[in-house]
Symmetry: C2
Subunit: 332 residues, 2 copies
DNA sequence: TTGTAAGCGTTATCAA
DNA sequence: TTGATAACGCTTACAA
């Protein structure tokens, strides 16, 4: 015996399929009709088919969140926030992972035209013409958590990393650290570019020069460790006393290398991360980290997506979330 | 202008919808037919609707992976392994999160009957009659990464935590640590119960008595920190010299509390975690951890799921993956 | 090789 | 209030 359909329920209840559908959707019906249908539904264990339903009504009540790397704790913060908003609105959230390449991101956006979900929330690491084009042409609403040109004509929620960088530098300087190095992720990524510029500006604001900068091949722990030695030469050369990292994973990687080199955090070298993810509290010493508002970005991005699903004609909004600094033990 | 359908393509190409479908699916057609259809497809930017297609063919080519907590790094290991296998087989993987409650897990399994995916991979924290029943009655193939009664009649891939516990205790004893405490997660969970028993048996095998045991309210970092003080009383009382934790997050939580109490890891107290997740390498000191084979479990579970989709009549397999120990710096 | 048409499981329109 | 029926966009017999 195969899965029961609405027709089977109708037959079992001795009513029409239309009536079954009505009862199921809470439309007016007599007491008795409701009763009969519900009994048949329960008896057969009928569950409506979401594909057929969505084919008809044009909605799936699913939303997709695409993240570049499930291993990056910043995404779990964001995911939790998004989940909360969308499930409260009666949508299922499905998460999918794209990897760091823009081509996969484009393929994902294009693929949304297949009707998998009613909306898409992406946070792309790299952005190119193709991606902008695919977003603009996408059949379903897209919201970008990150920075994408205004001509993409899409709602965005982004962080203010320059301001965040300034917070980090202010803090270090206030604690007497001025020989500051910077470990960035790939500079050809959107966050990488923003943070590089932010760092440069923040140092300039304090009339400081970078003691060293390095670029990790990825925003990962392993890449952070691999790139750290480049920074450490500055330690012997000029007495580096602080390093700011483009995210928490990189910062934790650096702290490991610092320890391996016999340097203490924060006594010898202070370390500041960015994202203020769960990892920042879990690391040892707990990591001072720039909170770029990932939870709030997730929440607001989700709200924008829901709003656009309701009304696709609203003019795109570009929200910027302000950063704050979570001071922990990795800085003096 | 709305989204183009196969009928639109057919009209534009001046052929029948059947021919368009055939060309799109690579079925035999003349050179010219292929040419005309492809031109029309490109011109209109046509993308086939996955819902309609799957309604017809009865397959979605999507697989669902449900995890209890996206913040638990053991799931990222598993997710990566699953993703690799299923995408190689031409399926999309979508991840969804259930939370720790069994009712949500049941709702998820029941909901699969709605046709969201061709198969489901779950790793439930808690298992009850309802869940077993829902799995048995599920319309789509289910594979469980974890332990579920054989009567569920489902493929399972589980870890051997007793053996893993023994590995941990063996290691500690070999390094001269015999005053061992245990921090478990909730004992009413499947992994919690297995690890409690494993720990007890492992100690017995060494003629040892537990110096202290505690139960965290969750398998999380915060719960680990909160529960740690219970263990620390044993330190002052009898000179605790090692603690085994039911997962890496708990272990990291304990290490923080140990540090707060002025105890050094591993000199004063050795710590061993379980799962050997990315967090184990990232933590400081790097955590000695029992590798319960999460990557292999993910891989094999995905393979079982694909196999069952091919042939739903095969008899359910119950695979056990053997553990190993990843020795790092948190043990002497 | 190509076209016609029936259906996949729903919902929505229209009469009754 | 209820029932018959036409879509939704696709695939696939079956005919031509």
């Amino acid at each position: 015996m195969s899965r029961p359909t609405i027709a089977g329920v109708a037959r079992a209840a001795g009513v029409s399929v239309a009536s079954v559908s009505r009862v199921l959707n809470g439309l007016p019906a007599t007491e008795e009709m409701v009763e009969r249908v519900q009994r048949a539904v329960a008896e057969l264990g009928y569950v409506p088919d979401a594909r057929a339903r969505s084919l008809k009504v044009g909605r799936t009540f699913q939303l997709t969140l695409a993240v570049a790397d499930v291993g990056n704790p910043v995404y779990v913060t964001m995911m939790r926030a998004v989940e909360e908003v969308v499930s409260a609105a009666g949508y299922r959230l499905v998460v999918t992972t794209t990897g760091p390449d823009v081509v996969d991101e484009v393929a994902l956006v294009r693929g949304m035209a297949r009707g998998y979900a009613d909306g898409l929330l992406i946070s792309p690491l790299r952005v190119d013409e193709d991606l902008v084009k695919s977003i603009r042409e996408c059949e379903v609403p897209v919201v970008v958590a990150g920075n994408v040109p205004a001509k993409a004509g899409v709602d965005t929620v982004r962080a203010n990393s320059p301001k965040g960088m300034l917070l980090a530098v202010d803090h270090l300087v206030a604690r007497g650290r001025t020989k500051i190095a910077f470990l960035n992720g790939p500079a050809d990524t959107v966050p990488g570019a923003a943070r590089a510029k932010g760092f440069a500006d923040a140092l300039k604001a304090h009339d400081l020069e970078a003691v060293a900068t390095a670029e990790a091949s990825d925003f990962t722990f392993a890449a952070g460790r691999a790139a750290a030695p480049e920074l450490l030469v500055a330690e012997v050369a000029v007495g580096l006393d602080a390093v700011i990292c483009a995210n928490d994973l990189l910062a934790v990687g650096v702290m490991h290398e610092l320890a391996a080199a016999g340097l203490r955090v924060p006594e010898d070298v202070a370390v500041v991360g960015m994202d203020d993810s769960e990892l920042a509290e879990q690391s040892f010493p707990p990591l001072t980290s720039v909170n770029l508002g990932s939870a709030e970005r997730g929440r607001r991005a989700a709200e924008l997506l829901l709003a656009r699903i309701e009304d696709n004609d609203r003019t795109p909004r570009r929200i910027v979330v302000q950063p704050s600094l979570s001071i922990r033990k990795s800085t003096p």
